[in-house]
Amino acid sequence: MRRLLVAALAAGFAAALVAPAHADQKRRDPLSHFQFQGLFGSYDKATLQKGFVVYQTDCASCHGLRLVHYRDLRGLGLNAQDVAGLAAGAKVPKAMGGNGKPKLIAATPDDRILSPLTPAQAAKRFNGAVPRDLSLAEAAHPGGARYIYSLLTGYRPAPDNMLMLPHHHFNTAASGMQTAMAPPLKAGSVTLANGKKLGTREMAHDVAEFLAWTADPSHDNRKSTGYGAMFFLLFLGILVYAARFTTRRERP
């Protein structure tokens, strides 16, 4: 019956291998490929940082990241000072003093990254549609990071026969082929330290990876822990197998 165990083992491995491979069909657009999804892949810190800048420049005016605190950005490789600076740049409502009403004051690293719009404001501005919180946006769509990339790069002129909603934009990736979100990425709005300006496709790639990180910040930890555990168990397993073998020899 040992064969059964081996079969289970093999099945487990196969399952693990198939999933990432799946995500890799069509490599025509290299920017639509995400390195971290590979078997040994991990997030690229530089990409994440660029992604965050794109988020701040082009998304933060409508979308929040309510599950992410400014302090968490240290996970992107930023230092404490950078994070404090970023936080101080945002205003959040806080109730201070006695029974006073909340006032807008500078955020601290321990505040969440909230949307500047209340749902009511947003609904008014977008005629009923509300820009959702992006913390888990990558996990919300079966396509993951690739979906976000496709959405951000999917804006096209609307075909003539398309019935468009008022203030909506044609988008090949959007559900119903239209979305209330105007094309958010402005080419050249993000400038790197070396003076290079990012193109919209690069921006889309980076912000998609950044949103994968916001959705699953422990991805890298999990992989390294998991590999560690596997190596440990492999070692222990060999030892125990050997011991078992010697025990069996003595069986009465």
């Binding site: 009923g128 909603l165 119903g176």
Partner: protein
């Protein structure tokens, strides 16, 4: 009762057993039934506790006075946490939805299945778009109603007719009709 068995079994060994029997039998039955009554009296509160509490009961059923609603206008009420649309249709609107051929519908449903018999001019709908759950527009006078004079979802453009049947995607199902009935000619009881 288990007590019974024990006493019977042991009584053979006890010297004076036979003597006390009849009185004890009666007592045992009395004690047993008294305890049963007590147990039932204790069980009842524990069971009643599991049913719905006062807030839940309050949430379950909503009465809506529909008399102030003019033809071709509607109101939104909240029922079990969901928005519910109540709209009064004009004869023209009624004629239009009754005339729609089934084959034009994405999720075919007859006119009769969408209204309550005797109150055909009233539509009552759960106001959540079956596509991703946005609240369709069309219930306020200032709202657009979409191409089918019903509701229009602001998120991805699903359009519904005047009895809430989906006529344009991406939604694939009609707006749900909640359970309701006319408690009086001017009062709808939802729930």
């Amino acid at each position: 009762m288990a007590l019974n068995a024990g006493i019977e079994r042991e009584s053979g060994a006890a010297p004076e057993a036979a003597h006390g029997e009849p009185r004890r039998d009666f007592l045992k039955i009395l004690i047993g039934s008294t305890m049963a009554v007590g147990a039932a009296a204790v069980a009842w509160p524990f069971l009643d506790y599991l049913g719905s509490d006062a807030d839940a009961r309050a949430q379950g059923v909503v009465d809506v006075d529909v008399s102030p609603i003019a033809a071709n206008s509607g109101i939104t009420v909240r029922w079990r946490g969901k928005p519910v649309f109540v709209r009064r249709l004009t004869p023209k609107q009624l004629a239009a939805v009754q005339a729609t051929p089934m084959k034009d519908l994405i999720d075919p449903a007859s006119f009769a299945s969408r209204v309550s018999p005797g109150g055909e001019s009233w539509v009552v709908l759960v106001g959540l778009c079956p596509h991703r759950g946005c609240i369709p527009l069309g219930n306020k006078p200032s709202d657009p109603r979409g191409p089918y004079d019903g509701w229009l979802c602001p998120c991805h453009g699903a359009a519904f007719d005047a009895v809430g049947r989906v006529r344009r995607g991406p939604a694939e199902r009609n707006l749900p009709v909640p359970p309701y009935r006319f408690a009086s000619p001017t009062m709808i009881r939802i729930g």
